[in-house]
């Protein structure tokens, strides 16, 4: 059980980081399917830089920069060339899949994986018993995640900046009439998303095994987007959803470590994806019902 909790916490860190990042884009009205690609590109950049410089700080900074540059391209294509968000997002992800494999081969002469000599520090590493053992595997990013979630909450719900993002996504025409410069707000929102995705990618690559392998994200970027939707676009609820999906992921980890094989392994690895489908469906039902109630209330007020 302790193992399961520890594994859940670790699995949910990248999902929470990327999921809370996704909130900004989705609230600004962009269905961001590029998160998977941003995470992959950041993970690769971080490991590549760490491999060459052995500096963890440079690695994190480089990942942030790459993610921001890719997000700016995404924004430019959407806002200035009116491209379709979904196709561009999937294109960005494919470009990252190809680009990371390509550069892995061309720059480092490796196929499949690249190891990093350094990893993210773990503040209380080595505690073996009691409550501390649950979190001893958590990297520094894991410890920062709750703070980042809280900061996102304050940013989105308590500042003019956050309210502008939501306004742009909810009623674009009204936001423009109120004098909000939509394009800039969307850029800012996507840069916030890029930070979340980049940190999630860094955590995936350097938080545990300190290695990059092709396809390391394994659909987590898409699951993070689903977590944002399941969390009804609220930062705290999204973080909770990330922990929920993290638990689904932890089932796979724990059963593998203990070589429990009462069901074939592929079926266990399916669980996170099936749960995501269920979660998206449930949140759709909740949303429709809330809408219906609102309509009924409006009807009741009519004279």
């Amino acid at each position: 059980m302790e193992e399961f909790i520890a594994s859940t916490l670790r699995s949910s860190v990248p999902l929470a980081l990327a999921g809370v990042g996704a909130l900004f884009a989705v609230r600004a009205g962009i269905f961001h399917l590029g998160i998977e690609g941003l995470m992959l590109a950041s993970a690769f950049t971080a490991v590549g830089v760490a491999h060459s410089t052995e500096s963890i700080i440079l690695a994190v900074l480089a990942a942030l920069v790459v993610s921001a540059v890719l997000s700016t391209i995404y924004w430019f294509l959407l806002d200035h060339l009116h491209a379709d968000a979904i196709i561009v997002g999937l294109g960005l992800t494919t470009l990252s899949v190809g680009g990371t494999a390509f550069f892995l081969d061309v720059i480092f002469g490796q196929r499949g994986r690249l190891d990093s000599p350094v990893g993210l520090p773990r503040p209380i590493r080595g505690a073996d018993d009691g409550a501390a053992s649950l979190v001893s595997e958590l990297s520094i990013l894991g410890w920062l995640t709750p703070l980042l979630v809280l900061a996102s909450f304050m940013l989105l719900r308590r500042t003019a900046f956050g309210l502008r993002i939501t306004a742009v996504g909810t009623y674009s025409y009204g936001a423009r009439a109120a004098g909000i410069r939509e394009s800039r707000v969307r850029l800012a929102a996507m840069l916030c998303t890029s930070v979340g995705s980049a940190l999630a990618g860094v955590e995936l690559a350097l938080g545990g095994l300190s290695t990059f392998s092709e396809g390391i994200t394994g659909g987590r970027g898409f699951i993070a987007l689903a977590a944002a939707l399941f969390g009804q676009l609220h930062p705290l609820a999204t973080a909770a959803a990330a922990v929920f999906f993290g638990a689904a992921n932890a089932i796979g980890v724990v059963t593998q470590v203990n070589s429990i094989d009462f069901v074939p392994r592929p079926f266990i690895l399916m669980i996170p994806f099936i749960i995501t489908i269920a979660a998206v469906t449930v949140s759709a039902i909740v949303r429709t019902q809330a809408q219906q109630r609102r309509m009924e209330r409006l009807d009741a007020h009519e004279p």
């Binding site: 009205g29 470009l95 899949v97 550069f103 996504g169 025409y173």
Partner: protein, 372 residues
């Protein structure tokens, strides 16, 4: 005619730019542009077995792409073709390996079962979307990952090839006498089947009630509902068609060039087919043309390592760049820059947008839905 030409240029420009960017990257990383370019030409047309390979890859892309085009036309972002294809190929290989029937019946049942499996897999997302409102983009993507795990299970469990080696697990191979195409040869049957499907989809979209309904619903669901069309029914049909075609492709791959189902290293046909459908403007002729083009590209990229050391991931880079640019309205951006900046918003409020290009309209509708 001039207008058609302009539209053609607008379609081709993003592809050309994407290629230029990819080439710039390859040159910057030390590949010689001449050897890559001549390698592509050889791989598509002139090299040994080049045309065969081009056709080999075009067939699945066209079959899956047509299904995706039908879906997108109805405004449904069914991007689960990869999963539907995998489930279809599992159904086909199961029938082929485990059923004991005369060859003709075996192939018949394998195809039917593959189509049904693909259609049902797609219908999961369809029902969740149409009746419960679950976002099909997420559900179809997730179903892809589930299908990948299913293949993993089948290839390492029930149908495992005990003699397979290397990283990728594989199912047993099909008996050669059952296959309609070995590697490196044509299959007339598959080409005829593809032509039949092209004609069928064309008449479905252009000459049938359902086709008109799909078009109308994609363009304006409210107006379509007022016309008395069943929105839910029509949308569900598009899921069945897209899934069925992807499932059929699973069968053609199993009985044709692949001959087995392999985990891991399968090229991601589903995504390439999505690019094919969008490059082809969701039209039948366009999708077929784009399918031939990307089929050739796939053949060339698989051929390239032989001549210039370019890693196979180069194909993903080109595809990704095309996908980034294909929906961008380059012309509009240029036009806007020339006209004086207007303080008025550049979009009319919802319901007043002029309908221009069919694809752009369908594709852009989603963001408005989300906003509204």
């Amino acid at each position: 005619m001039n207008q058609h030409l302009a539209r053609l240029v607008a379609r081709l420009a993003p592809v050309v730019i994407a290629f230029a960017l990819a080439f710039a990257l390859f040159v910057a990383t030390g590949f010689s542009v001449g050897s890559v370019a001549s390698g592509i030409v050889e791989g598509v047309l002139t090299g040994r077995g080049a045309t065969t390979n081009t056709i080999r890859w075009s067939i699945p892309l066209i079959l899956i792409g047509l299904g995706i085009a039908v879906s997108l036309r109805a405004g449904e972002f069914n991007i689960g073709a990869q999963g539907q294809f995998l489930v279809g190929s599992l159904a086909a290989i199961w029938v082929a390996l485990r059923w004991d029937l005369p060859k003709a019946w075996l192939i018949f049942f394998a195809i039917v079962l593959a189509v049904v499996a693909g259609a049902l897999w797609s219908a999961i997302a369809g029902v969740l979307k149409v009746y419960l409102g679950a976002d099909e983009v997420i559900t179809t993507l997730m179903l892809n990952f589930v299908a990948i795990q299913l293949v993993q299970w089948v290839a390492t469990g029930p149908l495992r090839d005990p003699f397979s080696s290397g990283d990728a697990a594989s199912t047993e191979r099909l008996d050669p006498s059952l296959r309609v195409q070995g590697s490196g040869e044509y299959s007339l049957e598959l080409i005829l089947l593809t032509i039949a499907v092209i004609v069928a989809v064309w008449s479905l979209l252009e000459r049938s009630r359902l086709g008109i309904a799909v078009q109308l619903i994609g363009a304006n669901p409210k107006a379509a509902a007022w016309q008395g069309l069943s929105i839910r029914g029509t949308r569900l049909y598009t899921y069945l068609i897209a899934g069925g075609l992807a499932g059929l492709t699973g069968a053609t791959e199993v009985f044709g060039p692949a001959g087995r189902v392999v985990t891991g290293s399968t090229p991601t046909l589903g995504f390439t087919a999505l690019v094919v459908a969008t490059v082809g403007s969701l039209a039948v002729v366009g999708t077929v043309t784009a399918g031939l083009f990307f089929g050739g590209l796939q053949a060339a990229i698989l051929y390239l390592p032989i001549v210039s050391d370019l890693p196979p991931s180069a194909l993903r880079i080109i595809e990704g760049l095309v996908a980034l640019l294909i929906t961008a309205q380059l012309a509009t951006a240029l036009r806007r820059r020339r006209s004086t900046a207007s303080p008025l918003p550049d979009e009319a409020p919802e319901g007043q947008q002029p309908i221009e290009d069919g694809v752009q309209h369908v594709l852009s509708r989603r963001t408005q839905d989300e906003a509204g």
